[in-house]
Amino acid sequence: MDTAHLLTRCRTGDSLALEELVETYQPLLYRLALSVLDNPAEAEDAVQDGFIAIIDSLDTYRGEAALTTWVYAVALNVCRKRLRKRIARKRLMQTLQWLLRLPEEANADPEEAAVHNEYDAALRRAVRALDEKHRLPILLHYAHGLTVIEIAQILGIPQGTVLSRLHTARKRLKGILVGKVETQ
């Protein structure tokens, strides 16, 4: 089924079309959400929110970018909102911990145990340490294999800015990694 036909049927609430939409894009969106949010459970929720956002804004898709790029852009916005909420929540928790002397939240992420490559782990920590502006182009480029043009469309920024952010991010990653090695 071609994209336009699929979207048209989704807009009418055609359940078969919705199944097809989910089947096609769920793996992509989940990987996107997981890479950005770095938390499998939260990524699952974000995928659901992302699909709802996609369904709600189907009428705004004008075919100017590829559907996949547009789907990425909508879902990425959902992830960014979650990130902002997470930052606000973290700040609140830090304040409460200071006021009430609460124990720090244990890291429930089992990832570290599953991955044995120390360099890769250090690299991922370095990526996490980047600010959102520089982290997203890195994730989209290296984790999802998107081109600079696609990243520009998804983030709504010029291609030159994407290039500049990738350059800066790599420079910072090198710096972070060198610092890690030196302190280890």
Binding site: T8, T12, D14, Q26, A43, A114, L166
Partner: protein, 512 residues
């Protein structure tokens, strides 16, 4: 080949990683790297970082598979909820805003219907008292109104009765206010004009020309259809689909009845703005004041039949029929689409002929009557369009004459006219493409205006008898038709058969 600096070489290395280099840049970079240990190390470091990033980030994504289930079902529920809420809020705000007016109107309508029932014997026999709920609402785009940009006219064309040229006096959207039209009565009686036409003051107009009255009479679908509406025969609960050009979706005539507006892929540049045809056919079929079936549900797909090579292509019409069949499957039993109106015809030598012919057969098999210019070919039903003088009463059968475009070829003995059901066509006021409250009076029409009329009557009939079939409808329409007298070559001759909607419905009620 210029040798790059270290800075340039490192910049190229970054670019090579992100977007690639031209062949000459690549060659210059390779040459530089072969002779520069510092840049070579930079390259190796960058490559190592990139490989590490791909591996580290992608590995992580692969070790946590998604466990989401039932997502499609959740989305479906969300979509249904969202559609319901959208409709609910839209309806609520409209109700709150117009509560007073609606209440008063409702009282008047009830009183009027009660009084009408006392005077007339017809009562819907099978119309359901409460409608099956329908939450279907999907408007893909709102095409912009058409602006003719005509400005001030320097004069009015003279009507030539011997010319075959249609619309000789086209005054739509012209500013005529500077003209003196006192002596132009004959021309004006053949004029097509719209709400945007600016007329001269009364002293510079012929005293016998009342454009408001002409426009008002043209709004009446005629043949007693308004009296059927007063009795509750309005096409309520019946779905009527139209495939035509782009539509002004918010026109007051049909906006409330429009359940679906979609555009085929070939609605591209040049076809995006509202075309004159769409609002006309939609309002003739389901318009609340000018239409035949003002309470039928309208499903509309915009397309055009002119291909990129300027030749006609009916592939998209065929696809649109299929789409309507698909939509129909999603509709509840009490609100199905029963008729499709397509104001165009197709020939065997044209692209898409086979596809559209097969699509009509599929629609027919699905219980949907497809009314088109090919009605004779697809169903063996023959029809023709009626003419009417602009000030003649549309409800009086005696007002009708042969339509403008074929009046010259009319002969009471013509074999081709026998058993050809005659349907209103000329002197119709319809929704105008120029604005949501605008109207246009078409002094001359074509089959394009008769086709949605037939579709509208079918919707009325399907409201009365949901088991109606095209064959039974047509046979009964001919059987109950009316024949009048007209003047021809200084003789009075019989003229017909003219469709008689009230007689048709009465016959259905009586079990014919």
């Amino acid at each position: 080949m210029t040798t790059p600096s270290h800075k340039q070489a490192q910049r190229w290395l970054e670019l090579a990683a992100d977007v690639g280099l031209s062949a000459s840049e690549r060659a210059a970079l390779d040459a530089h790297l072969r002779g520069c240990a510092m840049c070579y190390a930079y390259s190796a470091e960058l490559q190592s970082l990139e490989t590490g990033l791909r591996r580290a980030l992608r590995t992580r994504l692969n070790i946590y598979p998604s466990r989401s289930t039932m997502l499609a079902r959740k989305l479906h529920s969300h979509l249904r909820r969202a559609t319901f809420m959208k409709r609910f809020f839209r309806t609520s705000s409209a109700v709150i805003g117009l509560a007073g007016a609606i209440a008063s109107l409702a009282v008047l309508v009830i009183l009027f219907r009660e009084l009408s029932r006392d005077r007339t014997p017809l009562v819907p026999v099978t119309a359901t008292p409460t409608l099956t709920p329908l939450t279907f609402h999907k408007i893909d785009r709102e095409p912009a109104p058409l602006n003719f940009r005509r400005g001030a006219a320097t004069g009015v064309s003279t009507y030539d009765p011997n010319s075959d040229q249609p619309w000789q006096v086209d005054l739509r959207s012209y500013d005529l206010s500077f003209l003196d039209l006192s002596d132009a009565l004959d021309d004006l009686m053949h004029a097509t004009f719209d709400s945007q036409t600016t007329w001269p003051p009364a002293e510079r107009m012929p005293s016998d020309f009342d454009w408001q009255r002409i426009m008002g009479l043209g709004k009446n679908p005629g043949l007693g259809v308004h009296s059927l509406h007063e009795q509750g025969f309005t096409g309520r609960g019946v779905g009527l689909a139209i495939i035509d050009q782009t539509l002004l979706v918010n026109h007051q005539e049909y906006a409330d009845q429009l359940r679906l507006y979609e555009e085929a892929e070939n609605i591209t540049e040049g076809w995006l703005v509202t075309q004159m045809h769409g609002p006309a056919v939609a309002s003739i079929a389901v318009g609340k004041t000018v239409g035949v079936a003002p309470e039928a549900d309208l499903y509309y797909i915009a397309t055009n039949v002119v291909g990129a090579d300027n030749k006609r292509d009916f592939t998209y019409v065929a696809r649109s029929i299929h789409r309507i069949l698909e939509v129909n499957q999603q509709l509840p039993a009490g609100r199905k689409i029963r008729v499709i109106s397509i104001s165009v015809g197709w020939s065997p030598e044209e692209t898409g002929y086979t596809e559209v012919t097969e699509a009509v057969e599929e629609a027919n098999a699905a219980g949907i009557f497809v009314v088109s210019s090919n009605l004779e070919e697809t169903y063996n039903f023959k029809f023709h369009g009626l003419g009417r003088a602009p000030l003649a009463d549309p409800d009086a059968f005696e007002s009708y004459v042969p339509g403008s475009f074929w009046a010259k070829s009319y002969s009471p003995d013509a074999a081709w006219l026998q058993e050809r059901l005659l349907i209103p066509m000329d002197s119709r006021t319809t929704a105008s493409p120029t604005g949501p409250n605008d109207y246009v009076f078409y002094r001359e029409g074509g089959w394009s205006w008769s086709i949605p009329y037939i579709a509208g009557v079918y919707a009325l009939v399907a409201q009365v008898d949901p088991a109606i079939t095209p064959d039974r409808f047509w046979a009964l329409a001919l059987e109950t038709s009316r024949t009048t007298k007209i003047e021809y070559s200084r003789q009075t001759v019989s003229f017909g058969p003219i469709l008689d909607p009230a007689a048709l419905i009465k016959a259905l009620q009586q079990g014919h």
